[in-house]
């Protein structure tokens, strides 16, 4: 009942003027050949979201198969292919690239730049991503990969998985890897060199901080996985034996290489989400972020620790006890900076003047869900307990709490927050909130019970489970929940599609934002800003609004009657 109508409130506005580019070419050629970071960002977001929907369909097929014990809806082969496609798609074609999409669109706007440092390289990374996705999904026409998203050797060796699907998986890693690497270098160069005058490191928006660390982690981790999959490729086809135990190679080497990349990858997926939440909370709490320095520093600490914890994915592989102790401790410690972030976010909300709009819903929902994912992460880091839990549905529940609940809720938060900027229109708020609740309920229904299934002894990646193992009820709840979740997601999709043309006109700054992207029009003109303002704090837009208010003589209290412009 306390909702306010943002669109209809007059906000003092400073406008950039649109530069009219003459249109000489057809529209689609424009999109194909563009080097504009905003168009590239949109293409990133739309295409990775399409991959999300494909991955979601794969997930639902798996949930149907698991709805009853001893089901034969899918063959074991199809089931193995589905979870491999699903996991790989969600990670390499959805979460990582959609974060790159947000960064593409908003990073230059937030730091007051006119484009990325290397616009053509930027286009290259988009097209490589799409190309990688196509190579990967083309394997559907022959035989998709089936060794899981971490493709453990020797199972992924030619002897046990002769199909070309495994090679398609390797090329996907190569191609999207290059795409991410090129993107990461570009983000780094842009952030370091192209900030608006006055934007020192202490005034960098927190989302930009997380993208900086995201880029560094990608640059650190990707070469390792690229090397590893190249070794796998030569093992498969060119007679090397890096991972072949019968010829003196080591399957455990693959695991070390994979997880040295794989764990940082987890933070690559979640850190930009943290950044989105750190932007959204202060805007909707109408209050500065609490502990800016602590939030920024904790990002860096998380990244540092993330490079030291990889072996916690290998707790069922023999490792000396002391080494286990080390990885257990480092995994524990990573919870400290994460906790710092959560406490600062809550302190940001505290005593604010909270606008209960859809981005805030998703941000608050994210906190609740992510805390569960973080706590179960601690359980998994406790080696003796993890012994019982690893490779079970408890792990499946844990990483879906972190990735689906963590990353996806922040992505929806970002989509709702920035949608008006990208399209110039507002989404329907009631539909957005309804979608939130359906997703929230569906999500918890799907994944909360999976903790119990795992504790009762259900291993992951099984296409059937026995009828007498006490797992039937859990799986049925989970399957129903996954369809509820699917409906919730579709409601948002419908909202985005419909509002594109029919939503209320947003104006440049519908949320009273803090950062520079709200300084320009929605959607921003090709050159972003006519004039780049001087930055004097972490919240340049607040300063600008104040200045405008002062100069134009508009005072807070006089605005009592919302006008109806939109």
């Amino acid at each position: 009942m306390a909702t306010t109508d943002f669109a209809t409130r007059p906000v003092p506005q400073v406008l950039a003027h649109e530069v009219h580019a003459e249109r000489t070419r057809a529209r689609w050629i424009d999109w194909l050949t563009t080097t504009d970071h905003k168009k590239i960002g949109i293409m990133y977001i739309v295409s990775s979201f399409a991959f999300f929907l494909i991955g979601g369909i794969e997930a639902l097929l798996m949930r149907v198969q698991l709805a009853v014990p001893n089901n034969n809806f899918l063959t074991p082969e199809h089931f193995n292919e589905l979870f491999t496609l699903h996991g790989t798609t969600m990670i390499f074609l959805f979460v990582v690239p959609i974060m790159a999409g947000f960064a593409n669109y908003f990073l230059p706007l937030m730091i007051g730049a006119r484009d990325m440092a290397f616009p053509r390289l930027n286009a290259l990374s988009l097209w490589l991503l799409l190309f990688g996705g196509i190579v990967f999904y083309a394997s559907l026409l022959w035989q998709p990969p089936e060794a899981g998203w971490f493709s453990y050797t020797p199972l992924s060796n030619e002897m046990y998985t002769p199909s070309g699907g495994q090679d398609a998986w390797i090329f996907l890693i190569h191609i999207t890897g290059i795409s991410s690497l090129v993107g990461a270098v570009n983000f780094y160069a842009t952030i370091v060199n192209m900030r608006a005058p006055g934007m020192g490191w202490g005034r960098l928006p927190l989302f930009v901080w997380t993208i900086l660390i995201y880029a560094l982690l990608l640059i650190l981790a990707l070469p390792v996985i690229a090397g590893a999959v190249t070794m796998l490729l030569t093992d498969r086809h060119f007679g090397t034996h890096f991972f072949d135990p019968t010829e003196g190679g080591s399957p455990v080497l693959w695991q070390h290489l994979f997880w040295f990349f794989g764990h940082p990858e987890v933070y690559i997926m979640i850190l930009p989400g943290f950044g989105i939440v750190s932007e959204v909370l202060p805007v909707f709490a109408r209050k500065p972020i609490f502990g800016y320095k602590a939030v920024a520093a904790s990002t860096a600490v998380i990244a540092f620790l993330a490079a030291l914890v990889w072996a916690h994915h290998m707790f069922s592989v023999p490792v000396p006890t002391v080494v286990l102790g080390f990885f257990m401790l480092s995994s524990f410690l990573i919870a400290v900076p994460t906790g710092v972030k959560i406490f600062n976010w809550i302190a940001t909300l505290w005593r604010g003047s909270i606008v209960t709009a859809s981005p805030l819903y998703f941000a608050a929902g994210f906190i609740a869900i992510f805390v569960i994912g973080g706590i179960t992460g601690i359980f998994l880091a406790v080696f003796p307990v993890d012994w019982q839990l690893t490779d079970t549905y408890f792990v499946v529940a844990h990483f879906h709490y972190v990735l689906m609940g963590g990353a996806v809720f922040t992505i929806f938060c970002g989509l709702y927050y920035w949608y008006p900027k990208m399209t110039g229109r507002l989404c329907s708020e009631p539909l957005a909130k309804a979608s939130f609740w359906v997703m929230f309920v569906g999500f918890n229904m799907t994944f909360l019970v999976q903790h119990a299934a795992g504790l009762s002894g259900m291993p992951r990646r099984v296409y059937q489970y026995p009828a007498d193992a006490g797992l039937t009820l859990y799986n049925q709840i989970s399957t129903v929940g996954s369809f509820v979740l699917g409906v919730g997601i579709l409601m948002s999709v419908w909202n985005f599609v419909r509002s594109w043309k029919t939503g209320a006109v947003a104006g440049p700054d519908p949320w009273k934002g803090n950062t520079l992207e709200w300084f320009t029009q929605s959607p921003p003109p090709v050159n972003n800003f006519d004039e780049i303002p001087r930055v004097r704090s972490v919240e340049p837009m607040k300063d600008i609004r104040r200045q405008v208010e002062r100069q134009s003589g508009i005072e807070h209290d006089q605005v009592t009657q919302p006008s109806t412009t939109a």
Binding site: K287, P318, L333, P459, P466
Partner: protein, 352 residues
């Protein structure tokens, strides 16, 4: 009431935590515990629950409370919250307190780890081998040939050291009731310990993706009294009818499976239950697996030669609607000739 919103929140939080902890402790999350190692692990798990429920409740109640209490009300559209930028003391507190909590939990967990890995003198060594998609067990005998079986039988109260091997790809030897889980990695031998403490039959599960039959790579472990275990060992060593290994004479607790003159079909039935039941439904044997065809009906009218071929060379003829490569193709090696004869006789008798 309006004057003490924080007090209110603390009370709600405390009650919610208490309820949460009670629920967490009352519900029996784990499967039956049948080994000494389960005790400290389950206690550790309970401690983790007790610590984490209040953390969860704290974060969620404060978040919900803040959103509700400080929501913007009509007329406040242009008011901003107070310009608070941070508080160093608070930052130090909420870095230090969780850090201390976590380091102490970590030390406790390390102590448990050292405890359950403790070595024992009188331990029984059992070799476990994973292959696509079955488990095999080998019991080394002092001064004699090792016993090879497809059924895992263990004496109660004797520490066991499992030495785990893999033939082809990585598998993972998991006995949920013992709380032990260790990867079976080709090329290296991994070790894990457990001391069974309760009589009974418990599932053995493969927890690492190993190919198409991963879901059905199940077996079971039977914990018996030491006397029954000795008898079982003797049966295995005293060759039945000239065969070197007796395989899975998984008779009832303690009572012998019947040595030399065992009825062939009865042996076949036992072999079926422990080797095939996880994939095949067969009414007579009371199994309900669904990875392979339902043998109650599928075998109608097949002669013994076809049956034998179906078992020893399953990929020679693929039943429609199923895939090659799921049913293990080395039963000729892992089962004794007698067991296979038994299986054929048994299946022929039930499918008539």
């Amino acid at each position: 009431m309006r004057r003490h919103p924080v007090a209110q929140m603390v009370i709600v939080g405390a009650i919610a935590s208490a309820i949460g902890i009670v629920i967490a402790l009352v519900i029996d999350w784990f499967p039956a515990d049948a080994a000494e190692q389960a005790g400290p692990i389950d206690t550790l798990y309970d401690v983790l629950m007790i610590v984490s429920v209040p953390v969860f409740v704290l974060v969620t109640t404060v978040t919900l409370f803040a959103v509700w209490r400080f929501r913007m009300r009509p007329g406040q559209e242009n008011e901003d919250g107070p310009p608070i930028h941070g508080n160093t003391r608070l930052e130090v507190i909420w870095t230090a307190v969780p850090a201390i909590l976590l380091v102490s939990l970590c030390s406790y967990a390390y102590a448990v780890l050292v405890d359950i890995e403790e070595k024992h003198d009188d331990q029984l060594v059992v070799h476990v081998t994973g292959q696509q998609f079955a488990w095999r067990y080998r019991y080394p005998q002092p001064g004699g040939r090792a016993i090879e079986t497809t059924a895992l039988v263990l004496p109660k109260d004797r520490p066991v050291l499992f030495k785990v091997h893999a033939e082809d790809v990585i598998h993972d030897f998991w006995v949920p009731a013992f709380r032990v889980k260790i990867d079976a990695v080709p090329g290296i031998t991994t070790e894990v310990r457990a001391t069974p403490t309760k009589l009974g039959r418990y599932p053995v599960v493969c927890a690492e993706l190993c190919g198409l039959g991963h879901a059905v790579m199940r077996s079971s472990v039977r914990v018996v009294t030491p006397a029954a275990y000795d008898r079982w060992l003797q049966e295995q060593t005293a060759p039945a009818g000239g065969e070197a290994t007796g395989g899975a004479t998984a008779g009832g607790e303690g009572e012998a499976g019947g040595g030399g003159g065992a009825d062939l079909a009865a042996l076949g039935r036992e072999t079926f239950v422990s080797n095939c039941g996880s994939c095949h439904t067969l009414a007579d044997a009371g199994t309900s697996g669904a990875a392979g065809p339902d043998l109650t009906t599928a075998l109608r009218g097949q002669d013994e030669a076809t049956l034998r071929e179906d078992i020893v060379a399953p990929d020679a003829r693929i039943t429609e609607g199923y895939q090659a490569g799921v049913m293990p193709d080395n039963f000729a090696e892992t089962l004794s000739a007698e067991q296979i004869d038994g299986l054929v006789a048994y299946l022929a008798s039930v499918s008539r």
